[in-house]
C-alpha cells in the first residue's frame, strides 16, 4: 500500500525544519508536525546561531531568518563572589568571517517553518504526536489521537525531551547525566544603551559564557548573556544531578543569583523582564546518543543528543541543522532505490561520521566530566582570583615574580601543586 507521505518530520525546531526544507526542495512529499501553534512557538535556546549549515539549504539565510546581531565580541568569564575574571575577545575579523548571530528562537523557528511551507512541505502546528506506527517491526508512520498517518520514513526531531522516541522505545529515557536545565530571561533595553554597555556599534553583538564559581560546593552551573537588537538573553544552565545532591538549591534561585551578581546586574540594569522560560539542554556527550536509524526512521538534533560544549563554546543549533540535512539527504538517496530499511538508512550514520557532528562527539568524548567538574567551577576561579588580586594590588611591599605569585595562590587555595597540574593537563587534553 502506498504511504500518504514520503516523510513525516516530528518537531519544528532547527533540525526538523531544516530536514523539511531540504526534502521539499527535492520534491519530496513531506509533512512537518509541531506541538506548538504556530510551529516552533514553544522552542527555547540560549540564542547564538552558527549558520554555515543553514547556508546549504537557504543561501540568503541572513535575510530569511530574523537575525538579531552579528557576534563580533566573545567573552568567557569566571565569576566568584567578589570578582569577575574574563577572557574577552573582540575582533573586526568577525565582520568579514561572519559566522554567528544572536537570534530569538520563536521568530527564527517560525521563519524556518514558513520557509518549509513555501518550499512545498505541509506544515501543521498545535498537534502532539503520540507515537510512531509500526507494522511487522518496521516503522510505517505515526499515531495521533487514534489515527495512523503513514509515511515511508519518519524523522524524529522532537528536541531535548523526545517523548515519541522514548515512548516508542527508540531511545532510552533521558537521565540526569544526559541533560542540564536551562533557565532564561529576556530583558528589554534600548539599542543604544546595549551598544554603550557592551562597547558595540551598529549590529555588532556580544556573546558571553560564564562559570558561576560562587555557588555552594557540589552545585555546578554555567551562565550566558547574549545581546539581541534591543533585548538581552540571559540565562543559566545547571545539572539536575547537582540540584538533587544539594536539596536547598533550585534552578530559578541560581538564575536570580546570576542576574544579581554585581558584574551582571550592571549589564541588565533598568531592563524590563519580557520573557522567562526554561528548557532542557542536551549535555550528555557521546554516551547519550541513541541508535540513530532503523527500519523507516532516523533521529536528528537534540533528540539524538547532538550538541557541543567545552565551557568556552556552546553549540547546538548548528548540529541540529547539519543532522536534519543529513537525514533529508539520506532519504532522498534511499527514495531513488525505493528502499527505506535500516540498511538503506544506515547512510545517515555514515554522513554524520564524516561530518563534524559525530566527529566532534568522538573527539570530545567524556568532556562533560571536565566541563561539569569542581576543577573548572571552583578551583580555577578561586586560584585565579587569589593570583590576580595579589598581582594587581599595590600594598607597599616588594614585588614578586608572576610564577611565584601563582604558586603561592595555588598553595593558599589548599591544593597540591603536582596533582593540580596533572588534573589541569588532563582537562586541557579533553577540551
Amino acid at each position: 500500500m502506498m504511504s500518504e507521505f514520503d516523510v513525516i518530520v516530528v518537531g519544528g525546531g532547527p533540525a526538523g525544519t531544516s530536514a523539511a526544507i531540504r526534502l521539499a526542495q527535492n520534491k519530496v512529499n513531506v509533512l512537518l508536525v509541531d506541538r506548538a501553534d504556530p510551529p516552533g512557538s514553544k522552542n527555547v535556546s540560549g540564542g547564538v546561531l552558527w549558520g554555515n549549515d543553514l547556508g546549504k539549504i537557504i543561501p540568503d539565510w541572513e535575510k530569511i531568518i530574523p537575525v538579531e546581531r552579528l557576534i563580533t565580541r566573545k567573552g568567557t568569564t569566571f565569576l566568584t563572589k567578589d570578582s569577575a575574571i574574563s577572557l574577552d575577545f573582540s575582533s573586526r575579523k568577525f565582520l568579514t568571517n561572519r559566522t554567528g548571530y544572536s537570534v530569538l528562537r520563536v521568530k527564527m523557528d517560525l521563519a524556518l517553518a514558513k520557509k518549509a511551507k513555501e518550499e512545498g512541505a505541509m506544515v501543521i502546528g498545535g498537534v502532539t504526536v503520540d507515537s510512531v506506527a509500526r507494522k511487522d517491526g518496521k516503522i510505517i508512520g505515526i499515531e495521533q489521537d487514534g489515527d495512523t498517518i503513514t509515511s515511508d520514513t519518519v524523522i524524529l526531531a522532537e528536541g531535548a525531551n523526545p517523548r515519541v522516541a522514548i515512548d516508542s522505545g527508540l531511545r532510552k529515557p533521558i537521565g540526569d547525566r544526559d541533560v542540564a536545565i536551562g533557565v532564561k530571561q529576556i530583558y528589554k533595553i534600548p539599542e543604544d544603551k546595549i551598544n554603550e554597555r557592551f562597547n558595540l556599534s551598529g549590529n555588532e553583538g556580544f556573546a558571553g559564557e560564564y562559570v558561576l564559581g560562587y555557588l555552594p560546593d557540589g552545585v555546578e552551573a554555567g551562565g550566558f548573556l547574549y545581546t539581541n537588537k534591543n533585548t538581552l538573553s540571559v540565562g543559566v544552565v545547571v545539572s539536575p544531578s547537582h540540584l538533587r545532591n544539594y536539596g536547598q538549591m533550585h534552578s530559578y534561585d541560581i538564575m536570580e543569583e546570576f542576574v544579581q551578581h554585581p558584574s551582571i546586574a550592571r549589564l541588565v540594569e533598568g531592563g524590563r523582564l519580557e520573557e522567562y522560560s526554561a528548557h532542557l539542554v542536551v549535555e550528555g556527550g557521546l554516551s547519550s546518543v541513541p541508535k540513530l536509524y532503523g527500519d523507516g526512521y532516523m533521529i536528528a538534533g537534540d533528540a539524538a543528543g547532538f550538541s557541543f560544549s567545552n565551557g568556552l563554546v556552546i553549540q547546538g543549533m548548528n548540529y541540529a541543522i547539519a543532522s536534519g540535512i543529513a537525514a533529508a539527504d539520506t532519504f532522498i538517496e534511499a527514495k531513488e532505490k525505493g528502499n527505506y530499511t535500516a540498511k538503506a538508512l544506515s547512510d545517515y550514520q555514515k554522513k554524520l561520521e564524516e561530518s563534524y557532528v559525530l566527529k566532534d562527539l568522538r573527539t570530545f568524548k567524556g568532556i562533560e566530566n571536565s566541563t561539569w567538574s569542581s576543577m573548572a567551577h571552583r578551583t580555577i576561579p578561586d586560584i585565579l582570583e587569589r593570583f590576580l588580586f595579589r598581582l594587581n594590588l599595590e600594598d607597599g611591599l616588594p614585588k614578586k615574580h608572576i610564577l611565584e605569585l601563582l604558586l603561592r595562590s595555588v598553595s593558599e587555595s589548599g591544593h597540591n601543586k603536582t596533582s593540580l597540574a596533572l588534573e589541569a593537563y588532563r582537562m586541557m587534553r579533553r577540551m
Binding site: L31, V33, M122, V127
Partner: protein, 266 residues
C-alpha cells in the same frame, strides 16, 4: 435532512501579546499572533457537540485578512466540514454595521441553514453587535448569552446565563445563538482532520462573490465615526505598611474615608 450549522469565527490578535501604544493610544497588535476569538471557540464546540449527537454539516465563516485561513483550518481540524474566508481589501475598516451586513450576505449566499452560532463578542473590540446584527439583517430569531445548547426535535434548546437568573428557551429553526466565553472546553484538533482540511482547502469569497455594492461595505458602508480614543488616567494609589495588630484600625479608617462601605449602607 442533515442539519446545517454555520459558525461565525474571527481571528483576533492574542490578547496576551497586545498593548496600547503610549503615543497614539491605538492597539499595537503587530507582534501578536493570530488566534481564534475565545467565545467563537466555544460556539464551534457547541456546533460540534450537536454534530456528534444528531449529525450536522458545520460550516465556518470568517471575515478577515488572508492569514485568517490558519484559524479556519484549525476549526476544520477540530471537526468543521467546510471553511469560507470572506477576504477583500474593500472590506477594510468595516464597523459592526458593515461587518454584520457582509456576514449576513455571506450566509444568504450559502443558502440553506438551520442554526448560526457565534461568540458573544470579540476580545479585540468587544461590542457584541455582530451576532445580533446578522440576525436582524437575516430577519431571523436570536438567542444571546448562551452557555449550552442542544437540538430537541426541530428546535434548539438554549440555556442562557443572565445577571439574576438562568433561562432556558426553545426556538424553532432558523435561529442565531451567541455563546459566552468559557461556556465549554473546546476540543483539540487532530492531525488527521488538519491534513484533510489542508488538502480540501478553504473557499475565498470577495465582495463580488457576494454581490455587495462597494458603498455598502468597508469604511464606506460604516456609519460609525470614532471621535477620539482616550486612555483613562491612572489613579494615584497610596500604600502603607502595617502590622497584623493594626488591621482593625486600618479597616475603621477605610470606613471613615468612605473607601469601603457596609453592605446595609450604614
Amino acid at each position: 435532512m442533515t442539519l446545517k450549522i454555520i459558525v461565525m469565527m474571527k481571528q483576533v490578535p492574542d490578547a496576551e501579546e497586545i498593548f496600547i501604544d503610549p503615543v497614539t493610544y491605538t492597539l499595537n497588535r503587530t507582534a501578536a499572533r493570530g488566534v481564534i476569538n475565545i467565545p467563537d471557540e466555544n460556539a464551534l464546540e457547541i456546533a460540534l457537540q450537536i454534530k456528534d449527537k444528531v449529525g450536522a454539516e458545520v460550516t465556518v465563516i470568517s471575515m478577515g485578512p488572508p492569514q485568517a485561513e490558519e484559524a479556519i483550518i484549525e476549526c476544520m481540524g477540530r471537526g468543521a466540514d467546510r471553511g469560507i474566508l470572506i477576504t477583500d481589501r474593500a472590506f477594510a475598516a468595516a464597523d459592526t454595521y458593515a461587518t454584520s451586513l457582509t456576514l449576513a450576505a455571506t450566509i444568504d449566499k450559502i443558502g440553506k441553514y438551520d442554526i448560526i452560532l457565534a461568540g458573544e463578542s470579540t476580545t479585540d473590540s468587544g461590542t457584541g453587535h455582530v451576532g445580533p446584527g446578522v440576525a436582524e439583517f437575516l430577519d431571523i430569531d436570536q438567542v444571546t448569552y448562551a452557555e449550552s445548547a442542544e437540538v430537541v426535535d426541530d428546535k434548539i434548546r438554549v440555556k442562557r446565563i443572565l445577571e439574576d437568573a438562568d433561562e432556558v428557551v426553545e426556538v424553532p429553526f432558523p435561529v442565531l445563538v451567541t455563546v459566552l466565553t468559557g461556556a465549554n472546553i473546546p476540543r483539540r484538533a487532530t492531525l488527521r482532520r488538519k491534513i484533510d482540511a489542508i488538502k480540501k482547502g478553504i473557499e475565498r469569497w470577495d465582495h463580488e462573490t457576494l454581490g455587495l455594492p462597494p458603498d455598502w461595505i468597508g469604511i464606506r458602508g460604516s456609519p460609525t465615526i470614532v471621535g477620539a480614543v482616550k486612555v483613562p488616567e491612572e489613579k494615584k494609589r497610596a500604600s502603607k505598611k502595617i502590622s497584623l495588630e493594626q488591621i482593625p484600625e486600618m479597616i475603621d479608617e477605610l470606613f471613615e474615608k468612605g473607601i469601603i462601605k457596609r453592605e446595609d449602607g450604614a
